[in-house]
Symmetry: D3
Subunit: 238 residues, 6 copies
């Protein structure tokens, strides 16, 4: 049974990273993974939240969907006076993932906020946010280096993310919305440039899954992430 | 004294309307007025709020800025648990302006919500929202007509908007952010295709202004809106 | 066709300004414009918000309706956990209008908050708030001068406001609620003692309006505001 | 040692009840107890909350202070996004007190909301709210009877309230703000026309108090309430 | 007519105070009054709110019900975005009661927050909170003394609370939920170790009550509180 | 290097499940995993949220920490007017985990809400909530069966959870708070009675981790969950 868009089971959707789409942000990009479009901006502020050790930096992320990013219009968070719990969960994930790449001592006492706003969502918005968010963050760090604010790039590694899932008992890479909504199992990985894991989240939505199935999905993600990282490197001029 | 970007006093910034940028919304466009970029989507729902007479339709608007739309990052509304009063004021204006163009009886018992999300702001976001919002709304109505949901376009007229102001005692059209922040007077008009006013808001920010000055600014706006409407008509294929 | 209350088209409703109705506020008045009653208090605090240049002052306004100010009881803002968008819009207008009259350097590093609470509303609450708010503000400034806190009145001009509208294609001054709810066009002006504009807001609620009609309405407002300012002067003992 | 305003220990401040101050509310009054001024409106709605037995009515109260009702301006509840806990406590008290006077079966399936808005506060705002609230409620019920909506007044009794306290070990009636802020003990009573208790709240603010002292304070309140009820009866034309 | 659980009219339910149930809090206990179970923790922080005179301490309380503390599950406050008005009222009472026992100068510039979380509620949760809250507070103060932070216990007295009510015209002590929900009158007392009143709240829920009935209820409470204080002393090792 | 509490690397802390601690909830237990104490109640309501297919049931979870569950007192959610993002994330996890065990068609059109309130937290509160929540849920389902509301237990499997982590490069099972706060990697698993995965979340907090390390952690969790399930079965009488 072929996939809904004719892809091979281990194939990503086309990914496009358009750099510097925002003239004010220190770093920004628009990432398109198939029909999923996320606008990522990185904003630098010369102060840190109270919990950060003195002299060190901080990286945080916010995630939101525009009201008509999806098939149905959804109400804005402010109309319901609460942050969508799904957004809360995702922005915690994106923040942790990005922090894993940064040397906070080298960043110095400043905060970088990476805003990931989903203009259009077709599955995989959280992984696109990690991948695009890292690019926006890197642009901002490059700017700080090129302006002499930082002596060197405060990055320990790069991070990128992708999802895999099981649909009709078939493991497949990078689910689009239609696949995702009928998936039995959904699993996301964030990995470093060295192929190590930073975040791993798997959910049996339709059924439980074996440890063996979990391994297959992680391996699929690892393959996908290598391809994503090649595109990231290109966007980052390396 | 020339303008900051070399424009004539009665010249608009370049306007670009990119249609159908969102695959889910019934109508959408990205409007760019110089460096001001607003994503407009029109969403149709088959129900109306309680205050609407039975059998009639409703059009409403929401307006928001992405956190890094501006020179400084601003907090999201949800982080402050309140809709920005400026956004509240603007979305009321956009909603009234769009309703002025629609025959609610012909629209029938459905609501169209026009979301205007400012991706990048450089002055004139509220007028760009009216102009782009009308285009998105029209696309959505065309879709309803082409699908046979509506027998004819429920439009009474078209609406577009532009701002003018007085900077260093010089009236000028379509202020960009830098001009706007040093403007003595700021005035916005929404007009119909027939050149009549739908909304008019003028504010003396640095000083009061005479009735004569007010007339000059309205005339400048009228000239600008005629040009904007030509671009709107092009986008709407007419 | 006569007006609902027998007034001439260019006649104001009776206006009454009762001074010093609150024994704690530095300045206060109750303004009655026909059946519209607004309690205005001006409160002085010896600090300013962060955005104000050092050594300068600030004037701000808050506007609210008591729950039974109108024909139907409405819920309090706190019961809905959001400031009414209409109130947000109006208090921004009142604040801008009052600031236009004050020399912030002469005011010095203090904030005056003008609270406009509508006890009973019958149309024209926003313009009554500007007119009464200016009186309360002036009383508070007088007190600061008489106590020697300020060497001179930090006023550049006075401000007052009135509305006009078009009902059944007839322009008329100072609409009461019943006229307002069937008005085709509604326009508010705030003007200085010199007859210059500070704020101008016009809305075509039932239909669009020509530039010529707009001019007629502004002229009507100018006439009305001159009369309002005579009453203001009387209240201010000048 | 005489009282701050020369009153006898068992004397009330002058009380004035101005009827029908709001032209829209079904019942209203402005009650003045010395410098404490509370605007009370009673609004009738032809529906009841879910917890009310079918066919029966409901009476509820809301209490709020205008921002400058007191010596210092306080922020509005909506600015803090929470109902003041003190207001929450008081409006529960006022609601219970008013319900004690009403026969809910005779009221029928309607809700009366009594809004008590403190225009100026000088101690005793909660007891003035009960006393004035009952008058506004009675006016609204009279209106329902006179319009034939109700066959008879659905009142079981009348209610009024007053406070007493101990200042410098001296029991005294009806504390004003200055007395209240140095009171050792503060006690409020709500009583029926028959002199029975409906609500009783006593607090040792500066020190504990004996059961005997408590009895003295309740007796003082009983005396005061009889006088308040005479003024209430006058306002109610009986 | 015997009571629902066979108790004498002037008998308390069995009370149990389990000390130190939380290993992190400076003081804690679980108090069980019949089927009413309240977890009380006292937390010490080395700072005080702005309104507290320099060098003095502060004691405050928070009260909350777990969602299934009662017969029906109730929504959490956060789901409704507002503190339950009943909780607001109760935590103000508990805070006042506990402060009455403490010498704030001897406590020094620190705050003790007593959290009273109702795990299971069967009537009398507010009085159990006062009684258990005082025990948790005392443990925390003992700890401060034993650690040498304080030279002596900063207590002026002890406080405990109990309720009484009138059911079927019969006064009775310490109502359980079923009695409470059919009570005509409900009255709570907080008293010191010397038998003086600190708080007194009485409500005629089904009918008004005479001053004589009120005295009987206060006497019943006084008897009950003496017994509660014996159990408190035992828990406090004295 | 031994563990902080002397446990073997693959040893759980002592687990205790105290059944039926709440007399009102349809099912409840207190689960103690070392010093982590979570009160779990399952509440049945005879209605379902709108997104549930007709005739099917729903299971949802809420998670919260009492203010002094931890070393430092934290503010209540309601004081900050927002659900803690961490709680939002955890309660979504617990809800998904419990739903994985239930046959929603057999449950019928009712909702079971499982409240997990952390009385004391020492690491592993989310996994204790899943394990204890499943027990409370099962008790509630047993009650529905024993009362004849349901013909048979609507369970497809059982679920339990445990965490593992890497501390000082040493993988270990069931981290307590002190281990957790210095852990390099933290991973949680929810598994069924058949040893299949339902949820898997791994985070590299101090460093990234290899796929091989991830496998070791999952295997550790699998071992631990088998032991937890034995204790669950005992609590469930089978």
């Amino acid at each position: 049974m072929p996939r809904i868009d004719g892809r091979a089971y281990d194939a990503l959707r086309p990914i496009e990273i358009i750099p510097n789409v925002n003239r004010f942000a220190e770093g920004s990009c628009l990432i398109r993974c198939g029909s999923t479009h996320v606008l990522c901006t990185a904003s630098v502020e010369e102060r840190t939240p109270p919990h950060v050790p003195e002299g060190e930096g901080w990286v945080t992320a916010e995630y939101s969907m525009l009201p008509r990013a999806n098939r149905e219009r959804s109400k804005r968070d402010i109309a319901k006076l609460k942050l969508s719990p799904r957004s809360a969960e995702i922005q915690r994930l994106v923040g942790r993932a990005l922090r894993a790449a940064v040397d906070m001592r080298k960043l110095g006492a400043r905060t970088i906020t990476v805003d990931c706003d989903v203009l259009q969502g077709d599955g995989g918005t959280r992984t696109a946010s990690v991948t695009g968010g890292f690019v926006a963050l890197s642009y901002a760090l490059h700017k700080l280096v090129s302006e002499g604010v930082l002596p060197e790039m405060p990055l320990k590694t790069c991070v990128a993310a992708v999802s895999a899932g099981i649909v009709d008992d078939q493991p497949m890479l990078d689910l689009c919305y239609e696949e995702d909504s009928s998936a039995q199992v959904d699993l996301n990985c964030v990995m470093t440039g060295e192929g190590e894991l930073v975040e791993l989240q798997g959910t049996g939505e339709g059924r439980a899954f074996t440890i063996e199935e979990q391994r297959v999905l992680v391996d699929l993600c690892a393959k996908g992430i290598r391809e994503v990282q090649a595109i990231q490197r290109q966007a980052l001029g390396g």
